[in-house]
């Protein structure tokens, strides 16, 4: 892989295109990630926790180390309460379907991704009551609006930490206090923030935290899950599926302990070996340093877009109040056209449309057409931002 001067992998594809779709999945990955996966496959890729031989035990060690590394990064006390699944959608489904039952009331925001909204809509059909608090047109949320909706049957508040569409940060610490004061469970979707902003389950009073391995944790796809805090009783969190766990094999009933209760079937151990290497890389690079770089890139992108006639930017337009994910439109052009022309004519790879978040787009006023989204990552450079700005500028000028 081509590497830039300071040793980082290049954010350009072999054909020279600029990758600006990190909010969907980060690319490239640290080279250590791919190396670790290759080594795991070649030396240790037996079925973890299923057999007693040395290779199986070594695979189980790697899975456990990854649990520990995720717990350490996200401030979870007990690594056994880190539940691995396919991705964060898996984790959020477990939290929502596993805990909410008919008659319960749940509060969420109007900025959520479909990974929260679709399970909630399904639960509403099954008798769960839901209140969606409307966010401001820049995606921000007034915590008092959440408190106002608490009812006697409210069981949970679920919020994303940052919007996947425009990057706007939601006030999770303030809402955590509201949840705590009212005896409610607090579920946070940290898909867009884990690894780039400090998230600490214990300090932030988060009861359930959904995370994904392949975005700002810089691991491979196919990993993610749910961290379950001490206030959640495993007896009340029902598993989404049952099956083999390598434990209590003499019983046909599902085990009732963490993490086996929620992890039936062979895990993506090779992916977890990559995630472990990614977390080690992340620890060396430092979340604060990653954030500082992305914030500076984001500020430059926001500033550049603000100076292009015919471009409308959505969200806070303040790099300090959002992740490095920027949503915009070019007046008079459909986002899908912008996306195609950015790709084909300018070699800029981004995501356009509704970003699996129709409710967020309604809040921002961009439904049903959607918008263009640039998702910056740690390996992007100021040159990437300037080249992308030139491309947007040219498209906007052609449109006038």
């Amino acid at each position: 892989m081509k590497r830039s001067n300071d040793g980082d992998p290049s954010s350009r594809t072999p054909e020279g295109a600029i990758y600006l779709d990190n909010a969907a999945t980060s690319w490239p990955k640290p080279p250590e990630v791919v190396a670790a996966m290759r080594e795991f496959q070649e030396t240790s890729a037996a079925n973890p926790g299923r057999s007693g031989h040395r290779m199986s035990i070594q695979a189980a060690r790697v899975v456990y180390e990854t649990r520990q590394a995720v717990a350490d990064l996200l401030g979870a006390k007990d690594p056994l309460r880190v539940i691995f699944g396919l991705n964060i959608t898996d984790g959020l489904n477990l939290a929502l379907h596993g805990l909410l039952k008919s008659g319960d009331h749940v509060i969420t925001s109007s900025m959520e991704h479909n990974s929260v909204m679709r399970p909630l809509r399904e639960l509403v059909r099954k008798g769960v009551e839901m209140t969606q608090v409307t966010c401001a047109p820049d995606g921000t949320l007034e915590p008092k609006m959440v408190e106002r909706e608490v009812k006697p049957n409210t069981r949970m508040i679920v919020l994303n930490h940052a919007s996947n569409v425009c990057g706007t940060l939601l006030p999770i610490q303030e809402v955590a206090r509201i949840a705590r004061n009212n005896g409610l469970l607090f579920l946070v979707d940290a898909a867009q923030t884990a690894g780039v902003l400090p998230v600490d389950m214990l300090d932030d009073h988060i009861d359930l935290l959904g995370f994904t391995g392949h975005k700002s944790l810089y691991g491979p796809m196919g990993n993610g899950g749910l961290l379950v805090g001490e206030r959640v009783d495993p007896g009340e969190l029902h598993p989404m599926r049952q099956g083999g766990t390598g434990s209590r094999s003499e019983h046909e009933e599902q085990p009732d302990f963490f993490p086996d209760c929620y992890e039936s079937g062979t895990p993506n151990a090779i992916g977890l070996s990559g995630l472990l290497a990614a977390l080690s890389w992340l620890g060396e690079r430092g979340v604060t340093n990653i954030r500082a770089h992305e914030e500076a890139l984001c500020a430059e992108l926001l500033d550049g877009l603000a100076h292009i006639r015919g471009v409308e930017v959505y969200g806070t337009r303040d790099a300090k109040k959002q992740t490095a994910t920027v949503a915009f439109n070019i007046r008079g052009m459909e986002p899908s056209t912008v996306g195609l022309r950015l790709d084909e004519q300018h070699g800029v790879l981004c995501r356009v449309g509704l970003h699996c978040a129709p409710s967020a787009h309604r809040t921002l006023g961009t439904f049903p057409y959607g918008c263009v989204r640039f998702g910056l990552g740690v390996f992007n450079t100021f040159d990437d931002v300037q080249d992308a700005l030139k491309a947007v500028h040219q498209l906007a000028r052609e449109e006038r």
């Binding site: 456990y64 003499e250 993490p259």
Partner: protein, 72 residues
């Protein structure tokens, strides 16, 4: 040498205890659970019988979950 084993619910729990013992001078090894102790297909942690009490104290202090310690 006389051995004992720490029985645990899952391999995750076994690895956790292995990690707990790693910084000490206690020697341990993850092995398949002897059939006469459990019909489970999982692993357990084999230890020296002389270390049993020290290990019991360490486990109690750390809150690491385990089922029992059995002499084999």
């Amino acid at each position: 040498m006389s051995y004992a084993v720490i029985l645990v619910d899952s391999t995750s729990h076994a690895v956790r205890i292995e990690k707990l013992l790693a910084p000490t001078d206690i020697v341990c090894k993850l092995i398949p659970v002897p059939r006469h102790l459990s019909s489970d297909c999982g692993v357990c942690i084999r230890i020296d019988q002389d270390d049993m009490e020290r290990i019991r104290q360490l486990l109690d202090q750390s809150n690491a979950p385990f089922r029992s310690i059995e002499v084999i």
